[in-house]
């Protein structure tokens, strides 16, 4: 399937999902008023991807800021990758957060714990 690439804009992050290599990046700030409108097509894309994924999938989330609406959508987005785990595919989420940003770190930890997804953490 075609890779998914969305350029960052004022309140929305960059999405760079390569279905061929399995290298996925979600980078920047996310605080749109209507987060569902932004994330819904991304989630649908992932729903299709997991039906025929690359050999290895790694999602790098390097998020500077998340509003409450985006936090909920990020949960939905990461849930969409869950089939990879259930299929025993090689999959990991690299959760990067700005030095001192406990809030972004804690969102990642909560998702890791509640959704039981594989995470690694890196401070930048």
């Amino acid at each position: 399937m075609e890779p998914l690439k969305i350029e960052p804009f004022l309140q929305t992050p960059e999405i760079d999902f390569d279905s061929n290599t399995g290298d996925f990046k979600l980078t920047g700030k996310s605080y749109p008023a209507d987060a569902i409108e932004f994330y819904e097509p991304v989630i649908k894309w992932v729903d299709e991807y997991v039906k025929s994924p690359a050999t290895r999938t790694q999602l790098v989330c390097e998020i500077e800021y998340l509003n409450s609406a985006s936090q909920k959508q990020i949960v939905e987005l990461l849930m969409a990758f869950k089939p990879l785990q259930e299929q025993d595919k090689d999959f990991i989420i690299h959760w990067k957060y700005e030095e001192g940003d406990d809030d972004i770190l804690s969102v990642g930890e909560l998702i890791e714990h509640e959704l039981e997804l594989p995470f690694s953490y890196e401070e930048f």
């Binding site: 309140q11 800021y65 509003n67 409450s68 609406a69 936090q71 949960v75 909560l110």
Partner: protein, 182 residues
């Protein structure tokens, strides 16, 4: 000046005002406007908080985002033929940031909103963390829990009925910070 006084002063027309330490808007607020206004707010705040911790800077902006978007969400979900005038103000004072929002409520929503805020303000530390985490995964009002969790801050609300029977929700968040450079 309190929100109710500001509303009465500004009743005549929409206005967007910016001074060295205050960004203020009175007018219709929906999602489209809130996106633009938050971009302005981001630029406005950046100049004040050089040297503050990442956590503090992001916390102030985060609170501003949640309050403005909370108001916009209510208007978008309630009014289908144009949004009523609403108020948003962010002011940087000596070691304190004050964020005010005021918006008109439908009478039918007053009891529920009053209950929601009263419950929010009654939560203790551990209850708040639990409610916040639950809201990320499943529940509602995540933005409000984020506001309440803000360190060194005080959130207050009031719902007033004016002389023509309109109900107004006034929210105020005061956030302390350390040092500033103007």
């Amino acid at each position: 000046m309190q929100s109710q006084e500001l509303i009465e002063v500004e009743l005549e027309s929409s206005s967007l005002k910016r001074s060295s330490n205050n960004l203020f808007y009175w007018g219709p607020i929906g999602h489209q406007f809130s996106d633009c206004f938050l971009t302005m707010g981001n630029v406005f705040l950046q100049k004040y908080f050089e040297g503050e911790s990442v956590k503090k800077i992001k916390g102030i902006f985060s609170s501003f985002v949640e309050m403005v978007q909370n108001l916009a969400d209510y208007n978008e979900g309630t009014y289908s033929n144009g949004f009523p005038q609403s108020l948003v103000s962010i002011e940087v004072l000596e070691q304190e940031v004050v964020i005010l929002t005021s918006n008109m409520l439908e009478k039918k929503d007053v009891a529920d909103i009053e209950s929601r805020f009263s419950n929010l303000l009654s939560l203790n530390g551990s209850e708040l963390i639990e409610a916040h985490n639950h809201a990320i995964l499943k529940g509602q009002s995540l933005g409000l829990f984020m506001l309440k969790k803000m360190e060194e801050s005080k959130l207050s609300f009031e719902i007033n009925e004016n002389q023509i029977g309109e109900f107004w929700l006034n929210l105020k968040l005061k956030i302390k910070y350390g040092t500033t450079k103007n």
